[in-house]
């Protein structure tokens, strides 16, 4: 019973996501910002927090400190702290940073999380794939929007 409802829920989510999803090569940028949601489905901040932490997904803590995750050891020092980042960047710009931060910071070390091609020698299992799914990007954006003074 429990099982069925979980399965149904994930089926519905997957269905909803693909219907309106913007493909990686079709994302429209405006000065580093992406105005349109990639999925049309509101981001889930709670899941975004998990994606942010997950070493195989965002792994954002590898490079950024984040006081909201003080319980986690080892915050990276390569990028700026993301404390109160939503006071500095609006939703569209945060989405742009996640999709491809090179549109804002030329030559940055920060990976593009929603780009599928143009890579040199990607490992076979990542060929043609994005680091995060469209909905995961929306979820992380929703999480980042909670990081306010």
């Amino acid at each position: 019973m429990k099982h069925t409802s979980v399965m149904l829920a994930s089926f519905l989510l997957a269905g909803a996501a693909s219907a309106a999803e913007v493909a990686p090569q079709e994302v429209a940028f405006q000065d580093g910002s992406v105005l349109q949601s990639l999925t049309g489905v509101a981001g889930d901040a709670e899941n975004g927090r998990k994606v942010f932490l997950n070493r195989k997904k965002g792994n954002c803590l590898a490079c950024h400190a984040n006081s909201d995750m003080e319980d986690q050891p080892f915050h990276g020092e390569i990028g700026p702290s993301l404390d109160h980042v939503a006071d500095r960047m609006d939703e569209a710009h945060l989405r742009g940073m996640l999709v491809n931060s090179k549109m804002t910071f030329d030559g940055t070390i920060m990976p593009a999380f929603y780009r599928a091609d143009g890579f040199v020698r990607p490992l076979d299992k990542f060929k043609g794939k994005t680091i995060l799914s469209a909905q995961e990007v929306e979820d992380v954006v929703a999480y980042l929007l909670t990081l306010k003074e």
């Binding site: 803590l61 990276g76 020698r121 680091i131």
Partner: protein, 278 residues
């Protein structure tokens, strides 16, 4: 003796936190041999003032393991290397020692490797396998296998304290250029070059690891993570996989060129093999 070592280590630690000797060098001492672990960068290393050994970026506990050969876990493998050096193998009934009575005759070799011979970058692994195949009639060893890293470690140890000084001009020049190009080329799904981490961000934490300059003067390196000696090409592979790039093969033209280029970026540092890292 012990006191001197500790003092030296302590001053090196303090130095790694920012200060610098007047001549731009930082030193430690192991078994009575002085090692230079930071030196002014050669002018062809355009974006660095100073070249620094990976030792300077490790925790005090990890650093300490390298300061005394009795504590250095790599020496289990060096001992194995001594046994292998003396062990007869192959159709000719010879060991390395049949032709090289004392391994100490290799003092200085590691400091000048890799080098270009007959239009190809020759590494220490090539020399060892050339001896095995052509003089001993034995099977070649695997590039990063335990036998190879042990014997490469033993031979490298003979140069401990000597300044890295590889030839990069003349017939080495095109290989060096290729290595440099690879060092600055972004690869993998994470789209990063070696330089993004080891030149632009050394000294900073990347999650639980403090980024070093990615120098190779300490190889083969004992890593606490996998409790064995690690080859240079093995480490290159690891870093490429971490950025989700398809690694070149150990012994490939690309890794040979990269090895030559990286060795040259450490010119002036002492050979530190076998080093200890996490």
């Amino acid at each position: 003796m012990k006191i001197t070592m500790t003092l030296l280590a302590a001053s090196a630690l303090a130095l790694s936190a920012g200060a610098s000797l007047a001549d731009g060098h930082e030193r430690i001492e192991i078994d009575g041999v002085e090692l230079i672990l930071a030196a002014p960068a050669p002018d062809y290393v355009e974006h660095l003032d100073k070249v620094m050994s990976g030792w300077l970026f490790r925790s005090a506990e990890t650093q300490a393991l390298e300061l005394d050969d009795f504590d250095n876990p790599a020496f289990v493998f060096i001992d194995k290397g001594i046994d292998l050096f003396n062990e007869v193998d192959g159709s000719e009934g010879k060991s390395c020692a049949s032709c090289h009575e004392d391994v100490a005759e290799f003092a200085g070799l590691r400091a000048s490797m890799p080098r270009v011979v007959d239009g190809k970058v020759q590494t220490m692994e090539d020399i060892v396998n050339d001896m095995r195949v052509n003089y001993m009639g034995a099977e070649p060893w695997k590039w990063s296998g335990g036998e190879m890293t042990s014997v490469v470690g033993l031979i490298s140890l003979q140069s401990r304290g000597m300044p890295v000084d590889v030839k990069i001009d003349g017939d080495a020049a095109p290989f060096w250029e290729r290595g440099k190009e690879l060092y600055y080329t972004r690869v993998g799904q994470l789209d990063m070059a070696c330089a993004n981490c080891h030149e632009d961000n050394f000294g900073k934490m990347i999650r639980a690891d403090r980024l070093s300059q990615g120098q190779i003067n300490g190889f083969p390196t004992y890593r606490l993570k996998n409790a064995k000696l690690n080859s240079i090409h093995g480490r290159f592979k690891g870093c490429m996989k971490n950025i989700r790039a398809k690694p070149f093969k150990e012994g490939s033209e690309e890794f040979r060129a990269l090895e030559l280029y990286l060795a040259s970026r450490g010119a002036g540092l002492s050979v530190e093999s076998p080093s200890v890292r996490n």
